[in-house]
């Protein structure tokens, strides 16, 4: 029995794969039963709404300063307090959240899409193609990122889209490696060989049979990619790409708050709190999704 780990055939019936939608329908049904995941989803939705709609409801402008007031703690007027230039922190957290959430989610989805397809293709085809595809990944992985970003910026100017390109370029690489090693383990298995003998096209086998079975680790990595991307954004704005003053993302706000955490703790607490709660939610949603997509989890 000990030779089985990692190689047991997933018990996905062929019909289920043909009727791909039922897999997702079942998954959704299972996800709904997971209280923590549902709770996280609710909180996450609330945070998104808070950031997107909040600035319209707040009486303050995110960049309106009050130099005479400076940094003051939370009060009835400013629920989250104000920063050192006297700006309302709550609106800044909301506006920053828009940027961070968008960067975190969009860049992760992009990285996910490229990485999964690339990795699955390399693993499925194997041989020389796999070797050269993976060596290409190694090569990109080792490129000096700082230089790369500076160059991108100088060549194409400063734009939000360029930031997605820069982040996407690095984040899909580890995704591709993980998917590829998962697919390598799967492709020698009976159900894949069966699919091949049934004459299914390669793309169908990759998309319908292989990728769904490596989604577990992919989701875990994806939820870990979101915070990495949000912080990478802060580094990119250091290099001059991405969000420009006076606007600030969560990453930039946290970095600013960190320097003064002893004297103005609220400047760190609020942005870091939102950042942390968002990550918690995403991780529990991710775990829930992972469990829900794992066809056997219902049998526990």
């Amino acid at each position: 029995m000990t030779d089985l780990p990692g190689s047991a055939a997933p018990g996905i019936a062929e019909e289920e794969l043909v009727e791909g939608s039922s897999l997702w329908k079942d998954a959704w049904a299972r996800l709904k039963k997971n209280k923590v995941a549902v709770g996280s989803l609710v909180v996450f939705t609330f945070i998104c709404l808070f950031c997107v709609l909040g600035p319209f409801l707040s009486p303050y402008d995110s960049n309106a300063q009050n130099l005479f007031a400076g940094a003051e703690g939370p009060s009835a007027d400013h629920w989250f307090g104000t920063d050192t230039l006297g700006r309302d922190l709550m609106v800044r957290v909301m506006v920053g959240g828009r940027i961070s959430l968008m960067v975190g989610l969009v860049a992760t989805v992009v990285a996910l899409a490229i990485g999964v397809i690339y990795g699955a293709t390399a693993g499925y085809i194997g041989g020389k193609v796999d070797a050269s595809m993976m060596r290409f990944v190694d090569l990109l992985y080792a490129l000096p990122f700082t230089i790369f970003v500076i160059l991108l910026m100088v060549a194409f100017g400063r734009s939000m889209w360029l930031m997605f390109v820069a982040i996407g370029c690095v984040e899909w690489l580890s995704m591709a490696r993980i998917v590829r090693s998962g697919v390598l383990g799967l492709k020698k298995q009976e159900f894949v060989e069966a699919a091949v003998s049934l004459g299914y096209s390669h793309s169908r086998i990759i998309l319908r049979h292989l990728i769904p079975n490596v989604l577990g680790p992919v989701i875990v990595i994806a939820t870990l990619t979101v915070p990495a991307v949000m912080l990478l954004e802060a580094f990119l704005s250091f290099l001059g790409l991405g969000v420009q003053p006076p606007n600030a993302s969560w990453g930039v706000l946290i970095n600013e708050g960190q320097a003064n955490m002893e004297i103005y703790p609220w400047l760190l607490l609020f942005p870091a709190g939102f950042f942390a709660v968002t990550l918690f939610c995403l991780n529990f949603i991710g775990d829930g999704l992972r469990d829900a997509l794992d066809p056997k989890s219902a049998k526990d």
């Binding site: 029995m1 000990t2 030779d3 089985l4 780990p5 990692g6 190689s7 047991a8 018990g11 997971n34 923590v36 194997g126 041989g127 796999d130 060596r135 190694d138 090569l139 992985y141 080792a142 490129l143 000096p144 700082t146 230089i147 790369f148 500076i150 160059l151 100088v154 580890s174 490696r177 993980i178 090693s181 390598l184 383990g185 020698k188 577990g216 680790p217 875990v220 939820t223 870990l224 915070p227 990453g251 946290i254 970095n255 960190q258 955490m261 760190l268 870091a272 950042f275 942390a276 990550l279 918690f280 991780n283 775990d287 992972r290 469990d291 794992d294 056997k296 989890s297 049998k299 526990d300």
Partner: protein, 305 residues
């Protein structure tokens, strides 16, 4: 297997050559020179400096000269730090980063893997949520917050530990904890996922039905497979931690390699950028090779190809 390793190493050399060429072009195309400074330099003086470092030659010639030197193991001088060669800078800082990286990863494994196993075994109970939430702390508090926070609490308030420098074991505790907590989150999540994958297999249920003890199932049968994702991550993590610990090194004033990756790029210290890139690429190539070997060892169905 030897043939596989030899082949991969050969490919690795090609990757290194490729990365050298690409980086060389990138670096040459990047605006700003190692010699630009806030005070203008007279063009005549600048020309002399550039001639000294060989910047006056055409790009192709420079590439061939530098590649020739590199093949003889000489990466050249730093264009910014006088009297220091690239080899010297890397030689001084690499061992420090390796030490810090190893301790941090060990800590991350010690924290992350048991947490992950516990969470998987007790899935969807408080024994799942609590360790997973704790392991998230290292991610939710980015290193640039965690580091100063630890320094504030253990250095300034409690006065237990030194806050900066690299002079002995007690100086390693705070930076290694900062880095370790960050990576522990990764290991915990990967282990949890991997273990769940194993525990959900048909044969586990068969074994349970046959009355095999739960502990035997977990420790003897599932652990090996369940750890694969975490182990796969170990290689890139080590390479990443050695080269990418810029923030932690700055906060705790550690003379490691990570600072040089950022500083060399910001200084446009071309030879140093190239040397570091090649070093990092070599680490990546080796680590990925190791990971692939370990993967095959843990999963005999995989073959070397």
């Amino acid at each position: 297997m030897l043939k596989f390793i030899a082949l991969r190493l050969l490919q690795g050399v090609l990757v290194l050559l490729g990365i050298y060429a690409v980086t060389f072009v990138l670096v040459a195309a990047t605006p700003g020179s190692p010699f630009s400074s806030e005070r203008a330099i007279a063009p005549e003086i600048l020309a002399q400096i550039e001639a000294f470092y060989g910047y006056d030659k055409p790009l192709g010639e420079r590439f061939i000269t530098s590649l020739g030197n590199v093949l003889q193991g000489e990466f050249g001088p730093s264009a910014v730090y006088a009297n220091r060669t690239v080899t010297q800078i890397i030689g001084e800082s690499f061992p420090i980063s390796l030490t810090l990286g190893s301790i941090s990863l060990l800590l991350a494994l010690l924290l992350g893997i048991p947490a992950g196993i516990l969470a998987a075994v007790k899935r969807n109970t408080w024994l799942d949520y609590v360790p997973m939430s704790v392991s998230m702390a290292g991610i939710c508090l980015p290193t640039f917050v965690m580091g100063p926070l630890l320094a504030l609490v253990f250095g300034l308030i409690l006065q237990w530990l030194p806050v900066a420098g690299w002079y002995g074991p007690e100086f390693m505790i705070l930076p290694a904890t900062t880095l370790g907590l960050y990576y522990a989150a990764y290991f915990a999540r990967l282990t949890r996922g991997g273990m769940l994958e194993m525990l959900n297999q048909d044969w586990v249920r068969t074994a349970r039905a046959k009355g095999v003890k739960e502990s035997t199932i977990i420790w003897k049968h599932c652990l090996k497979g369940g750890l694969i994702p975490a182990i796969t991550f170990l290689g890139p993590a080590l390479a990443g931690i050695i080269s990418g610990s810029f923030v932690v090194e700055t906060i705790f004033q550690i003379p490691g390699l990570g600072q040089w990756f950022v500083r060399a790029a910001l200084n446009r210290d071309d030879f140093l950028v190239l040397g570091l890139t090649v070093l990092f690429a070599a680490m990546i190539v080796l680590m990925n090779l190791l990971v692939d070997i370990v993967q095959v060892a843990l999963n005999p169905r995989l073959k070397y190809d």
